[in-house]
Amino acid sequence: MGEAWNDRQDTSDDKSTLELYVAGDNLNSRRAVANLDEVVRRLDVKTKVLIVDVLKEPKTAFTRRIFVTPSLIYTVGGRQNLVVGDLSDVNGVLEKLRT
């Protein structure tokens, strides 16, 4: 997944990661990426951010079991949170990620 890593924040803290799976460059993908920026900015935890285009990397979509796009997987402390959609409800997403 190397080249897909996209550091938005401090990469030294690998305790948590945010993986955003999108399908090509469509409206949902662009909205999701933009909303993810805000989420990352407002999230008070340092996290790794990864954006994957499933159309380019179907194998990853299979291994990560991505059914719908955009999908955001937040891994922290061995737990995973899943958010589906273009993340338009940033407050809701933040609330979900903090639980």
């Binding site: 399908a23 409206l27 909205r31 499933v54 979509a61 059914f67 719908v68 959609g85 273009d86």
Partner: protein
Amino acid sequence: MVEPVGTGTYDRKLRTGIDGFDCMSEGGLPVGKVSAVVGTAGAGKTVFAMQSMIHCLRSNPGVGVVVSFEQSTASLTADLASFDWNAAELIEQGRLIVIDGRPRADVLFSGAFDISGLLAMVEGAAAPDRPACVVFDGIDTLMTLLSSSSSQRLELLRLQNHIQCLGTTAILTLKANPATSGGFEEIALYMADCVVEMRREGQDSVSRRSIWIQKYRGSGHSLARVPFIVTFKGVEVEGVDSRPNTAQVSNDRLSMGVTQLDEMLGGGLFRGTSTLISGAPGTAKTTLGLAFLNAMCQRGERALGICFDERPNEIVRNVSSVGIDLTPHIASGLLHLHGIANQTAGPDEFAYEIATAIRQHRARHLLIDPISVFTQEAPAQNAVRRIIQLCKREGITVILTSLLDRNALEAEASRSYVSTICDTWVHLTYVIHGGERNRALTIIKSRGTAHSNQVGELLLDDNGLTIARTYTEEGEVLMGSLRWQKERANEQAIRDAEEEAARHYREAEQSVEELSGRVTSLSNELEAKREELKRLSQKAAMITQLERERRSQLSRLRSAGEPIQQAVQEVP
């Protein structure tokens, strides 16, 4: 990658391995297209889809991907293991990939999304090749996550487009819910190139399943709703053979094993025809049917008996008491008696089991004892019709026994239409008269045969079955000991008449003899009388002469002279 098969206008088809369905669809599902399997819960949609996919993987190279939106991988794998498809082997080889697609309970939905992930995932699962076949099992579950019907429509079109680009064959299964029709189900049905509907419905404590093709773009297909069953082999749809029946019509007459009955039937049954033997309990329907099978085995032809009521070994024992020994035929393998194990199954299961038994035994002659286990409801009657059609097509001679509680024929005719489709109908009744119960046999119909209109009495004894001609006495048919009495009485009467005639002859002969004797004696007498008459007449003449002479002499003596002279002169 996928070998296209099929015939007709649509020349790229993927066989499902379900013979009946491949027949209905004229070759199977469309290759490189989306097929939708819709139906109620428990109809067998998943079985159909998985069976088709596994058959595809067995006959083609490549990888199959199944995404199950309703059950876990473990659960689906366990389900697959209950069929004889050896799916575990395919999974082990990595040729069958099972993905758990159940939505996670803790997922947060935030804004718009689409199913590109699913399509990418399926592609990724089979990478670097394209998947040969994809199953989305219970895709309605995924679709309901989409907020609006317009996005559902959009996603289904995306799916269709993607599948066509991939060139893979996709099978979607979805639950049909009439309450929410107008939703994505309808869109799915419009979108799919082939729509198969499967239905399960309860009826008389037996649930029935049926399958039909709702649409098939660019291909001919059967319009019929066809019953199917699910066995360890998966979905089994009975062969719906749309080819015209080209089976040869035979003029070969087959003995029913009862000489007199063959005579009544104008020489026996035609090969490849169907015969109904109806009658009240105990009228020897089974025995008559087995007599036929016995006769066929004696000809060296393969025969099959389907027994619902009795176990095969009971049947063998019971008919041995009337001189029919089936054991050598069973030992030689010519005869197979197939007991139906599951008595509670539905008509379609029965029909399937019978069809399978016919194939396995390569039977040329069939007895179903009794056919009346099939009720008069339409589905059961359809099952019967399919069995008879199969037999007609294969040139199998079939005998069906049917139990009747009442003696009325009208009741039989209305109860089941079997009697109308059978070529020959033999009816057995009890006739109770003179303190006894006897079996009466009539042939109600026999197509293409100048059959007897007489009622026969069916007799069973150690030596087998015979039919006695019954006697009509003042409009009443006599049977049993009355018939015996009548037969004896008739024999006596004939003997009496013969004796009487002989006596009359003798008497007449005597009279003739006597009369001719009398004639002889009378003619003798007559002759004697004539002789006497002659004698008498001569005597009379002589007497007259003598008298005249005496008189003349006397007159001469009384008067001398001339008169005496004259008299002397007169006598020279």
